[in-house]
Symmetry: D2
Subunit: 352 residues, 4 copies
Amino acid sequence: MLVIMKEQAAAADLQRIVDRVEGAGGTAECHRPCETVIVVNGCPPSLEDEIRALAGVASVRRQTTGLWLVSRERQPQDTVVEVMGRRIGGPNPPAVIAGPCAVESEDQLFQIAEQVQKAGAGLLRGGAYKPRTSPYSFQGLGERGLELLARVRERFGIPIVTELRDVSALDLLLVYDVDVIQVGARSMQNFEILKEVGKAGKPVLLKRGASNSIDEWLNAAEYIMLEGNPQVILCERGVVSAKHSKTRYLLDIAAVPIVQELSHLPVVIDPSHAAGDRRWVPPMARAAVAAGANGLLIEVHHAAELALCDGPQSISPETLRQLIQDLKRRGYIREPIAVPDENVVRLATVVH
Amino acid sequence: MLVIMKEQAAAADLQRIVDRVEGAGGTAECHRPCETVIVVNGCPPSLEDEIRALAGVASVRRQTTGLWLVSRERQPQDTVVEVMGRRIGGPNPPAVIAGPCAVESEDQLFQIAEQVQKAGAGLLRGGAYKPRTSPYSFQGLGERGLELLARVRERFGIPIVTELRDVSALDLLLVYDVDVIQVGARSMQNFEILKEVGKAGKPVLLKRGASNSIDEWLNAAEYIMLEGNPQVILCERGVVSAKHSKTRYLLDIAAVPIVQELSHLPVVIDPSHAAGDRRWVPPMARAAVAAGANGLLIEVHHAAELALCDGPQSISPETLRQLIQDLKRRGYIREPIAVPDENVVRLATVVH
Amino acid sequence: MLVIMKEQAAAADLQRIVDRVEGAGGTAECHRPCETVIVVNGCPPSLEDEIRALAGVASVRRQTTGLWLVSRERQPQDTVVEVMGRRIGGPNPPAVIAGPCAVESEDQLFQIAEQVQKAGAGLLRGGAYKPRTSPYSFQGLGERGLELLARVRERFGIPIVTELRDVSALDLLLVYDVDVIQVGARSMQNFEILKEVGKAGKPVLLKRGASNSIDEWLNAAEYIMLEGNPQVILCERGVVSAKHSKTRYLLDIAAVPIVQELSHLPVVIDPSHAAGDRRWVPPMARAAVAAGANGLLIEVHHAAELALCDGPQSISPETLRQLIQDLKRRGYIREPIAVPDENVVRLATVVH
Amino acid sequence: MLVIMKEQAAAADLQRIVDRVEGAGGTAECHRPCETVIVVNGCPPSLEDEIRALAGVASVRRQTTGLWLVSRERQPQDTVVEVMGRRIGGPNPPAVIAGPCAVESEDQLFQIAEQVQKAGAGLLRGGAYKPRTSPYSFQGLGERGLELLARVRERFGIPIVTELRDVSALDLLLVYDVDVIQVGARSMQNFEILKEVGKAGKPVLLKRGASNSIDEWLNAAEYIMLEGNPQVILCERGVVSAKHSKTRYLLDIAAVPIVQELSHLPVVIDPSHAAGDRRWVPPMARAAVAAGANGLLIEVHHAAELALCDGPQSISPETLRQLIQDLKRRGYIREPIAVPDENVVRLATVVH
């Protein structure tokens, strides 16, 4: 059961509910993400009506879908996440996040950053910690990668997006003040990571797991928001495909309208991992934008044949430039929209 | 082994090959779809070089992928299929084929035809014979449906697309002179149907089976072309999806660029069956066109809540109109391109 | 709507229903598979109660699942299909149907038949008409294959199972009097084939399509039974698998108990096509029997490296012998059970 | 690149390799799981031959599959894991691990423990930390659950298996000295967890992720072994299934022989999560054992309708008893085999 409190609820109102629940043998856990929410477990359903009638209670929800904070029902207007002046979500033109799979060296990162920025990308992606199937594969440069990302941001004024693979690395990501923390597809149900990035006060790019449903994905976002972080960007990157597919994963293009129906959070598409082959990335990216995606996450490498990971699916900066040109020509990318300030999500007001 | 003959090969050249193959214990079967092709089986591979050297032989191919007639290798330029003046494929704007799942009555068909034509559709779809999971479901109006389709064409001057469910109904489809014969997803490997529509001299819309690979799909088109019919339009309609998907099937959007790379045949997208829900049809349709599809196949019903089949995934004529308007505004749908006549595939020259 | 008539219903009772339905604008089609069944479409649901009250009506069913004839609800006791004295289904030990993918030559067929019979197989499988992805692959020996099958049966006294690929070949299968007609996975929803084998008066082995649900599979069996043929054996052969699988298909082992719960028809397992590799066939076959399968369909070749099709997944006669020995040692294969004669399905009483 | 050192390699031999690699701009990381292994990255492939020739080097392997420590190539004989006298793997009869999804209360746990032990189970499963899709679902009793598990072990002398959901809980699992640490399907590629349980000195039950290939699963085991822990038990629990399946996941029964071919590690089957419905658990369990599984992991609850999680797929203690009886009657479960002591994996000799 989920008990949502009124804004003006008093501390005594909360205590009364906790006492009642514990008296009935259940557990009650308070969260204050945006409004105050009490998670109740282990109680007889009959308690529901009684709690609903208590002072300070706004509403009581059964845990049917598990979705509350991320739902359109709670927040009808679109969430807009702002990162160094770039606005993602709502009526804004699709954001382009581009860059290498992994940060490999200063030279590589600076060259790519310069070229993707010229091509029109608004944010730079690059992994310092790479989750790899084999313990014997290149695992990323670690802290050295973070250092390079921070320096490239200083040089080009472009915000940086990087993945948190292990909870233990979170402190370092915060030390280097990364702009967006990526939660990878394999970590979508790493609940420890979800809770920690929920407390970290940074925008989060949450990838959908390759075999996870849209409901499971939105529930993962709910874990993050419940810890007080409303700045969540969802990212579809293809789902497990059957043997009949030539692409590495099957891009679930319908996830864009479906997510936008169920949730106020922005949703971006990663065509690179879905395709697994650079030849198909531009048409899949165009399809994503036409379907209404709030952005693109694209792997770009200036010398893909030498890339330490994901070379075959990395497009060149020139291909990125042409793609963005085409999106402009079709009217998909225009000047950013002036969004009323109250719709932009920032963390200032979060109490925890 | 596939033996492709030179255009000027003499009858005696063919006979020589057949004799040699049969002498070696194999079988040789001649086809004359566009050029003369001899299918050889049961021979030792060592015969390959010997045959290649015989008079009249253009080339000899191993059956690795099974693809020859449909391949870009054989025909680099795009196939353009012409149906009552509508051109599908190549540089032409995407064709819109719209209409009800099943022909239900005169009133229903005429109303929908009028409205989809006004909305901008170029061809009318409608099933007279419906393949149904259960023997107890509505199986279509049969011949009465064909009759109505022929009348609606006469009235509105719009070409008609209808499905051939059983080989036994082919004669009737030809009597009513349907403009495009649809081979449904469940029949994609109904080899008897493939061979018969290959001989029928009518454009064929070949749907991809829900669990079939792109290679299997192109091989099915190869069966049709081998019988002498070059007018094949491929149609992607979603592949089997895992439990994690909210849509009925997963639209394989990447199939568009992949097919266009491997084959010269036009490829259209059916977002209706992929979605299974009308709310997601327009964004999926826009995505398909942005990815480069040569057309759309969309279920439209003027009173979807009363439809005898596929009501939930049928959009209204008004939604179709808005979709086509959007495609025009983005520059995807323009005036038809003047295609050089030699690129347009007609059946006049087929020898069988 | 499905109207099931009482056994003693008179012709006038039927006529009365047909008249009422047609008067209400619907269609009524009579079938007499076991009992008399009238398929009604296009009627208002309100007619249901009225028809239920008419003379001669046993019951009326909505078309929710489409299942009636195949359901346990209609027939609680197991169907036992008898083929030349071999009994398949019910409490009988699992039947072993073994043999080559394709009939290739007299020598090949006779050698394999002798060896699988010695190994303990009760029926011989062998394809005369092979459904092949490519038109350029070996398509089977056709009538010559049927002739060889008939001769091998005469020689060894073993019943033969062979696939009907095209409706046009059915007459030949009947001329050669094959014992069991196989409907392949690709033809599971070839409704023309289903109806024709439903009229053919021969036991049918109905394979599940690679992407079909258990409900769709049982509906396909319903099509066959509705034409008057109660001798249906279901065959699970693996479903479409995701890229994560090493086997060609994923064997849906749970299909055995699920089918046995929903239907009275026997269900056998084909581990060969599911595995796609002979090394995994014996453990998958043992698993199938332990799960309660009524039989096994196994590809066996005496010289698999030379097989014209499916060589890699064919086991040797010696491996088959060891498998059957193991099943005997574990007590799975015992002497056939004496089934009361009234449970054995024969076609004598079918009126059509 | 993976450099495997000879047993008698000196510290100077290691240093020489590290120096050479770093001099060439690469990274070298030493591990001593069983033998000494150096993981090399970022080096030109040309270095391979040079390193192979250095003193102390046993062999050099390219990272093609990523598998070394878990492979049959390195260790031909089966690994046998011993837990409080129960031996899992090799020629031993299948181990039965049974118990509730989650530890709910003292009464619940003690009742189930007593009954599954009487039914013949050798180990007790029970979750104290439950990974849940929704943050609002019951998350397990936490430390209280571990305490109850420790007490039930003391009372009944049965070893306990419990899941590590978060790295932060590992210390507590070790304080309560759980006998087997389970890594759940969602955590299969939580590399932080894999490394930590690799250092923890306890047998690990590693579940396969629902969309992970067998290779990815074995690589996850490689991560654990590389940290010095050879006591890994693999557990197949079903893979993502398409909409055509009635079970929650599709049990990949062929994973049993495939894993046993590639690796020396024991592999057990969890039919409960694969089925998602208790009716199908016993036939799937019998199938698993017949396919050669080294054990079963089964959810059992004495009052499933009241279970806080996974009630619908939990069988009763009585059903477990009948299942084990059937496995004994078929000869699958016999007296434990006397395994030569040198085959049993313990951690005494691990140097880290």
